[in-house]
């Protein structure tokens, strides 16, 4: 996985927005997962079909963070969600 990667939301994963946060449900495992702030921005970017580099650019635009840091954070966060089965390649 790198910054050019486009990830997908697996069909068994549902997401619902409440207020300015999102809850994910993996129907396969029955596991729920809450996203807020930066995590939600990355999720929205992935849902729109953007690359991880584009997701990082959104973070740079909206938060006071260096591009390199944002890219590292996005890669780490996306890797976590892939590991949990909440995103797929």
């Amino acid at each position: 996985m790198n910054l050019d990667t486009k990830l997908n939301i697996p069909p068994q994963v549902m997401s619902r927005l409440v207020g300015d946060e999102t809850v994910l449900l993996d129907l396969a495992s029955g596991i729920y997962f809450g996203l807020d702030g930066v995590g939600m921005k990355i999720w929205e970017s992935v849902a729109e079909g953007q690359t991880l580099a584009q997701a990082a650019a959104v973070i740079v635009d909206e938060y006071d963070v260096e591009e390199a840091q944002a890219q590292a954070d996005v890669l780490e966060f996306a890797g976590n969600l892939v590991e949990r089965g909440l995103l797929s390649r």
Binding site: Q12, M14, R16, L17, V18, G19, D20, E21, T22, V23, L25, L27, A28, G30, Y32, G34, L35, D36
Partner: protein
């Protein structure tokens, strides 16, 4: 609707399959085991009773263990089986007590031991009424959530009964596995038989606070509060999980949901009631 019947007592024979889910007490003792059968489910309460539930949740048959009294079977049916069976009918209930407040009602969400029943009894003994002790069914009407009344009784530990001065409330027969008293609604303990608009829900938190505090839950915490306090019989049924996820999302969007912290001191209950009443009044 549920068709309910009680079969003759029988021995709890070993089940061929492994349970797909179980409820356990904090000390690891099994409270309920959930098995799949050819045409539905078997729920086992070790040494007390088995219950067969049809796949669609419309039929429940109790099979008591020899020596389990009627009051215990009735209690297990009302408090455990009805909400679980209703979840198979697409009508999930929530672990919550509900009381009337300020021309509406409020729910107290929380697991066993968080104080839901004590708080509900405190209201119902003091010019309010309760709609349910621990099984909240919600219906939506005109973009509002209605709390539906359930069984007209409350279960309390004896120290709560004594502290709240429930002497005038009628008690039902004792049940074999719990020291809690079941208080029946009546003149002393007021019950509301009609659906009431749900103004708010308060998730009971016990962090040993120094004062009463009511704080809004964030979006995901609000949704999770409803999910985590749900009665669901089959947690592996994807269609049911998906519908439930949408329903809890809907409720979390419609019902303002808060964290409620207060000192667990019977002497403080009047202040807690006042704080909730004042807070709920601002939500009308």
């Amino acid at each position: 609707m549920i068709r309910y019947s009680v079969a003759p007592a029988r021995v709890q024979l070993q089940v061929d399959s492994e349970p797909f889910h179980r409820f356990e007490f904090d000390d690891g003792t099994v409270w309920t085991e959930f098995y799949r059968t050819g045409d539905g489910y078997l729920l086992r309460f070790p040494e007390l009773a088995d219950f067969d539930v049809s796949a669609d949740g419309t039929e429940v048959v109790a099979h008591p263990v020899e020596g389990t009294d009627e009051a215990t079977i009735e209690h297990l049916y009302i408090n455990q089986m009805v909400p679980l069976a209703l979840s198979r009918q697409g009508k999930p209930s929530f672990h919550a007590s509900v009381v009337t407040v300020a021309d509406g009602s409020v729910a107290f969400l929380g697991k066993t031991g968080m104080g839901k029943s004590t708080l509900a009894a405190s209201f119902a003994l003091n010019e309010a009424a309760f709609l349910t002790d621990d099984s909240l069914l919600i219906e939506e009407q005109d973009h509002q959530c209605l709390a539906m009344p359930s069984h007209a009784s409350l279960r309390l530990w004896e120290d709560s009964v004594d502290a709240l001065v429930c002497d005038d409330a009628a008690k039902s027969a004792a049940i074999s596995y719990s020291n809690k008293a079941r208080l029946l609604a009546g003149n002393a303990l007021t019950f509301n038989e009609a659906p009431v608009r749900l103004l708010a829900a308060y998730e009971l938190i016990d962090n040993d606070p120094s004062e009463i505090s009511i704080t809004p839950l964030s979006g995901s915490a609000r949704h999770m509060a409803w999910i985590e306090n749900s009665f669901l019989l089959d947690i592996e049924d994807r269609d049911l999980l998906a519908r439930h996820f949408d329903w809890t999302h809907r409720i979390a969007s419609l019902v303002p949901t808060f964290a409620l912290e207060y000192v667990r001191d019977y002497g403080m209950l009047a202040d807690v009631r006042q704080a909730i009443t004042t807070h709920a009044s601002t939500l009308i």
